[in-house]
Symmetry: C2
Subunit: 152 residues, 2 copies
DNA sequence: CTTGACCTTAGACTATACTCTAAGGTCTAG
DNA sequence: CTAGACCTTAGAGTATAGTCTAAGGTCAAG
């Protein structure tokens, strides 16, 4: 199949497939007379493998390692793959924690502000970013707290 | 004070301050005879304001809006600031949810793999990324599950 | 008067992962 | 035979936010 077909079947774009080829992740098994990239079922599996890995949050560099393990499994051990996954778990977990902290801070910031059409003269958000003590200016509106949904 | 001093006191680097100047976020109140940037206390407040905003996860573009509100408060209303904060809360919340899903998937991926020095011939991670059904190969090790800490 | 710390500029480079463009060749249906 | 869909390449552009370099000027201390 040609690149357009592989794109359709793998969920990657033709552009991206060419880009991945430049990065050494996947290349067509053959070329047609007219120099078109020709892919087979094996290539499709590889493309899907890459797509799935990317969707799991792995970087192209990490995908490259997975691909090399996949290409010669007996030459590798499970730890090779698991180490990458474990590290990613740590990284993602860390990132989530950071973002949760940011979220809490954002809620504090936002909740103190009335958000109405009052002049921003005493806007709590600007004040807080300016390091002035956080004062509650929500009062000139019907204190509507409870907008916190997903702070862990 | 010169840029180095402002850098020290604001927590931003001199490089970054010059970069922010190019982006129109902050500029020295004056220049010395020798063309050095000279900042005053007001500039320091601004630099800190930017730093705090960045730490809260706001983009430079959003910081720019905050700065313009701050520069002329009566010309703005609280909603101008709160809208940005609310949108950021939505974005960060969404991002966290996505990452939590990735984290769950990563745990599934990782937990099925023994991670030992066994050949990767039947490595569950590679298999799963290859879309073969997830089989449990942890058994040739003392099934050590419970490595999940922070999946929400 | 020299050394070293600090400052200046424009512009290039980093990271990550694409995404698109220009200019052209190929193929298929009507 | 021609239109339109598809393919080719090298290389530039996008997004975000810095980070660094080269080549040079300034300034205070010793």
């Amino acid at each position: 199949m040609k690149i357009g077909e592989l794109a359709k079947q793998s969920g990657l774009s033709a552009h991206t497939l060419r880009f991945y080829e430049k990065q050494g992740l996947i290349s067509p098994s053959t070329r047609s007379e007219s120099n078109y990239r020709i892919y087979n079922q094996n290539d499709l599996s590889t493309a899907k493998f890459i797509k799935r890995s990317r969707d799991m949050g792995f970087s192209l560099e990490e995908v490259e390692v997975f691909l090399s393990i996949r290409a010669d499994k007996p030459a590798h051990i499970c730890a090779d793959a698991k180490d990458i996954a474990q590290q990613k778990i740590v990284d993602v977990g860390q990132k989530i924690k950071e973002m949760q902290q940011v979220l809490v801070a954002l809620h504090k910031l936002s909740d103190a502000c009335c958000g109405g059409s009052e002049s921003a003269e005493f806007c709590s958000i600007i004040e807080a970013l300016d390091d002035r003590p956080l004062t509650d200016h929500t009062s000139h509106q019907d204190k509507q707290v409870g907008t916190k949904e997903d702070v862990a």
